[in-house]
Amino acid sequence: MALVLCLAGCASSGYGRRIAPAQLAFYQGDAAASAAILASDIEQAGDADRHLLGLERAMALQAQGRFAEAAELMVQADQRLEVLDYSHAPVTALADTLFSLRAGTWKATPPEKVLVNTQNMINFLGAGEIEEAAVEARRVGILLLQEDLPEEERYANPLAWALAGLIFEHAGKPGEAAEAFREAGPTGLEKPAAPGEGTLLVVVQNGRVPIRVQAVYQLWLGGKLRRLQIPELVRRTGGAAKSPVWLDGKPVGEAPVLLDLQGQALHRYGRELPRLLAAAVLQMVPRAVLSDALRRAAKDSGQDPHAGANALVELGATVFEQALGEWFPVDTRCWSLLPGEIRALRLSVRPGEHTLAVDLPGTHVGRIERTVTVTAGGVSLVNIVTALGDGSGHRSAPGSGNMTGTRAGLAALELALATREIWRHD
């Protein structure tokens, strides 16, 4: 029997449906409405989603410049955050987390955990609370150095190190600052303000981080249609190709990318995929066993089985197996209001009021202008979020196209080939 692999579609999880109105408001440019929707969601949510919704709301507050409130929410979430590394966790733990009958407490991935502290450095800088920002800088340092992060990821976050360096410098900790800047490598954030001037830090949070959606694969195995569902990571559109910065009408440089969240997430997903598929197979087996039991029971009870009745039994068992999958979808919860990448530029500026503009070609907003006050020896932050007002947040669903050639599709095909024999002998 030939093996057939095709994609049936994707489904929104309960969390996906819950977050959609807040996402829509955010991407349509109304961060205040997004924050208000999320505040109401948090009140109604159980413990399982509360901290993730808190992080989403913190991003909506941060985009409005309500840094102190955003920081408080992130501190609360950080204290209770559970972490699960999809690329290293045992398959049974993954299956338990992603495919359990009842959604448990959301578990952040290690990069998401690092981002809580990275974003909170931005929040406390924006709020002018340098001592609290330094706390976050120390926390991020501990995570990056002591967490079980692979070597290449440990140093793939120059933004966190560079922000930490800038914060320690302004907190009067030159030793810690030098150490953090050394870990960051050359980013441009290590250049101090000229004597008598202040620092203007321009942060551009560009695009949207990839998110997880449920991908459903139909596998023709041992003469029966089997449903395999996994959390697929999908990129999202939007963002500016570059972001030149203007100060008081003069070009002063371009903010370089210091953290490529999208690239890192997709790279990491490649490592996670074999385990995710193995966990998905673990979840597929009970559904298959149940539908096969239904098949056998129906056939055993028939006195005079004929072709038409057999076809009906087959159809019923297949529908039953599909329905089980629909009832118990994959856990696709993730921190969705994060940007796809973060750029940062440090400027030495004379004290006083200045007009800062950032060109964002390719986005709906086009150009953002802000008035900012700089003090001698101080640090002022301008935080630009390009996704705010950059459209509806449409994502390309894996169900909408041919999966042939995609990483998940190819991996699922390999897995199906490997497991075909199991079903053949069943």
């Binding site: 501190v75 204290q79 706390v135 926390r139 340092g141 907190a171």
Partner: protein, 199 residues
């Protein structure tokens, strides 16, 4: 009869469900041990009380106190800086108030309220970035503008380590008393506190 049994079972089930969902509250004055349990790796009231107790105890027994003459010199606590990886600024503000209270109650000092220093914009800005050492200009201003004879300043630092299932934070509280007239440290002591979270 059957109906009655069903009603009983239903009542029992409702009681069990409601009982399982009910939230309970406890008053520490009735169950003092609830104050003892550590709930996080941050500093709690018990940590602060023990830290203050140990520092004050050492201070009271120090050569400096023994050599202090009569009268009630003016003293102020400037700032206890947070140099940890935990958001404990609120706890440190309580620690500062706690040390102030102990000094007032000792009857040996006239304590200049820390908030009086914070109300002065220039002094508040000076104190904001204060680390271990206090510059001469600030020391002079403390004596001249506020009549302070001695001041206390310090910091809380930590060493935090994390493995897969454990996070341990070792705090050290360092407080120093300085004579405004000479700028010399007359007493200093470090108090250590360790907290660990598992699971």
């Amino acid at each position: 009869m059957v109906k009655t049994n069903h009603s009983r079972w239903a009542l029992l089930l409702i009681t069990l469900v409601l009982g399982a969902c009910a939230t309970s509250y406890t008053r520490a004055s009735e169950e003092p041990q609830i104050d003892e349990a550590a709930m996080s790796t941050r500093l709690d009231r018990v940590d602060l009380e023990r830290a203050v107790e140990r520092w004050i105890e050492g201070f009271e027994r120090s050569q400096f106190i023994k050599g202090l003459g009569g009268g009630k010199p003016n003293i102020a606590i400037l700032r206890i800086a947070n140099e940890t990886s935990e958001h404990v600024s609120g706890a440190l503000a309580n620690l500062l108030n706690s040390v102030e209270t102990r000094l007032v109650n000792s009857g040996r000092w006239s304590v200049i309220d820390n908030t009086a220093l914070s109300r002065d914009a220039v002094m508040a800005e000076r104190l904001r970035g204060l680390g271990d050492s206090v510059d001469k200009a600030t020391t002079a201003a403390l004596g001249k503008e506020f009549g302070i004879h001695y001041f206390i300043n310090g910091r809380v630092g930590d060493t935090a380590e994390k493995t897969d299932d454990k996070r341990r934070v070792q705090y050290y509280l360092f407080l120093r008393v300085t004579d405004v007239a000479t700028g010399v440290a007359v007493y200093q002591k470090q108090v250590d506190i360790t907290k660990q979270m598992e699971g």
